[in-house]
């Protein structure tokens, strides 16, 4: 439906409105600070609670993880796969620990469920890859962020 709006008679020629619009754009052109972040040089600071790339926390080069299977159980995306084995210094440890990054929804429930403070989500958000990757254990043991 065409709604007739009451406009002052001088609006027929638009000119005053156009000029005030031009002044607004000129104000932005001259004085307003740009919102652009020059990405590779400047990076956005995220809070420590940001949920980014995963890692497994180690203490004295021994992983905290005891392969209790709580994180694959709680994971809603079912992206964590653990194969548990026994080792001389550790009764149960993850022989394989894989996270399928394509399936992961970064909900952070694995981090909440973990009783050993082992699986962590770091601040790293640059995860673009040229192929579909599954994070292996040796990648996950890299201590990112040190939360």
């Amino acid at each position: 439906m065409l709604i007739k709006r009451k406009a002052p008679w001088w609006n027929v020629f638009y000119l005053i409105e156009v000029i005030s619009g031009l002044l607004i754009t000129m104000k932005h052109f001259l004085f307003k600070k740009t919102a652009t972040l020059q990405f590779p040089e400047e990076r956005r600071e995220y809070s420590d609670r940001y949920r980014g790339l995963h890692y497994i926390k180690t203490v004295n080069n021994v992983e905290n993880c005891t392969a209790c299977m709580l994180c694959p159980t709680v994971c809603p995306a079912e992206c964590i796969h653990i194969v548990a084995e026994e080792r001389a210094d550790k009764e149960k440890y993850p022989a394989r620990f894989e996270i399928d990054l394509l399936r992961c929804c970064f909900c952070g429930m694995c981090e909440e469920a973990c009783p050993k403070d082992a699986i962590k989500l770091s601040n790293i958000y640059e995860m673009a890859q040229v192929e579909r990757i599954v994070l292996e254990k040796d990648v996950l043991l890299d201590q990112r962020g040190g939360k």
Partner: protein, 360 residues
């Protein structure tokens, strides 16, 4: 005819017009970015200046597809019809006053036609054929819609464009652009000892506004870019075009802008008449020099004034583009026929009366 000088003038105008395209590409991108609180392309070269050069390289290396559903002959012809008239219009625009050099009389205008303004309008309206043929040959409904809108728009706005200039023609009683530019150097009135020249915008304010708006419609720039209309027609008449064929349309748009700015400058802003302050600068810098040097410096200052006036209007095109949204089609027609046309007729009658009374 002094052919070497003529060729030199043609070369200067051609190269100058071609150079406006990358410059305007840069200005448009960075200008629009800053108006929208962004930075725009700033990675290639200092301040992103080489971005335009790389865009040209990209255009050159792109594949020129031969689309089977198009009418090949017209499809190839259309970009040329769009771009060639754009260049041709500049032939009658004077970019400095004439001077005597080495016993020759050099006028800085390619052709001083007796029908100057009429030639401009005749050639400028040829450009729309390129758009119409492109839309038809593309065999695509969006393109055809775009070119139909374009032709309707041209008809409605060319009328008020032509009528708005009649005031200027009446006041200077000449169709030659050289005479009009020269006439605008006369004193209009004096305020506190400063002589105000008889610039077209002062004696024809209404005519200037009408002409400026019509020129925006003629060059298919926002707020009148209905032939393109990204949101509803994808890209309008150049939807099917790619590579250098598209680049030609792109060039045509920017060269049309340059020509339109030159026309506005010549008709309403004194053409090559020096900007305030330039005569004084000329006197200080070259007052004691030889006559020949003085003359060359004068022409240089005049060309510089002309260029800076053109630059201002080119910037106005960009400025308006990123300020005002597109008109709806019926609003456009309403505005063209019910507002612009009567006002331009009024302007003609008013000017004729004033000229008859001897005021102008």
């Amino acid at each position: 005819m002094d052919f070497p000088i003529l060729w030199m003038k043609i070369a200067v105008v051609l190269v100058g017009l071609l150079a406006t395209v990358p410059i305007m590409l840069f200005v448009e991108r960075r200008g629009s970015a800053l108006m929208q609180d962004r930075l725009g392309p700033n990675r290639i070269g200092p301040f992103g200046l080489l971005q335009a050069a790389l865009d040209v390289v990209k255009f050159l290396f792109k594949e020129d597809r031969a689309l089977r559903h198009t009418n090949q002959a017209y499809f190839t012809l259309a970009p040329w019809i769009a771009v060639v008239p754009a260049f041709m219009t500049f032939a009658v625009i004077p970019f400095a006053s004439s001077m005597d050099w080495d016993g020759r009389h050099v006028s800085f205008q390619i052709a001083n036609l007796d029908v100057g303004i009429l030639y401009c309008f005749a050639i400028a309206s040829l450009g729309v054929y390129g758009i119409i043929i492109a839309g038809w040959a593309s065999n695509n409904k969006y393109s055809l819609m775009g070119s139909l809108r374009s032709s309707a728009q041209m008809i409605s706005y060319e009328l008020s464009m032509g009528l708005s200039v009649i005031g200027i023609i009446l006041s200077f009683s000449s169709l030659k652009l050289g005479d009009i530019a020269l006439g605008q150097g006369q004193a209009f009135f004096t305020v506190f000892g400063h002589t105000i020249p008889k610039w077209g915008v002062l004696i024809q304010p209404l005519g200037f506004i009408l002409f400026l708006i019509s020129v925006f419609a003629e060059t298919n720039r926002l707020p009148f870019d209905l032939p393109e209309g990204e949101s509803e027609l994808v890209a309008g008449y150049h939807l099917e075009y790619g590579s250098m064929k598209f680049a030609l349309f792109f060039m045509a748009e920017y060269i049309n802008m340059a020509v339109a700015s030159a026309l506005v400058t010549t008709l309403f802003f004194g053409g090559w008449q020096m900007l305030p302050g330039f005569p004084y600068l000329h006197h200080v810098l070259f007052g004691s020099a030889e006559f020949q040097t003085q003359e060359i410096a004068r022409v240089g200052f005049e060309a510089l004034s002309f260029l800076s006036k053109i630059a201002f209007f080119m910037w106005l095109f960009v400025w308006v583009r990123w300020t005002i949204p597109r008109f709806r089609f019926d609003q456009l027609m309403h505005f063209g026929w019910k507002v612009m046309f009567p006002l331009s007729l009024l302007n003609v009658v008013l000017t004729a009366y004033l000229v008859m009374k001897g005021v102008l």
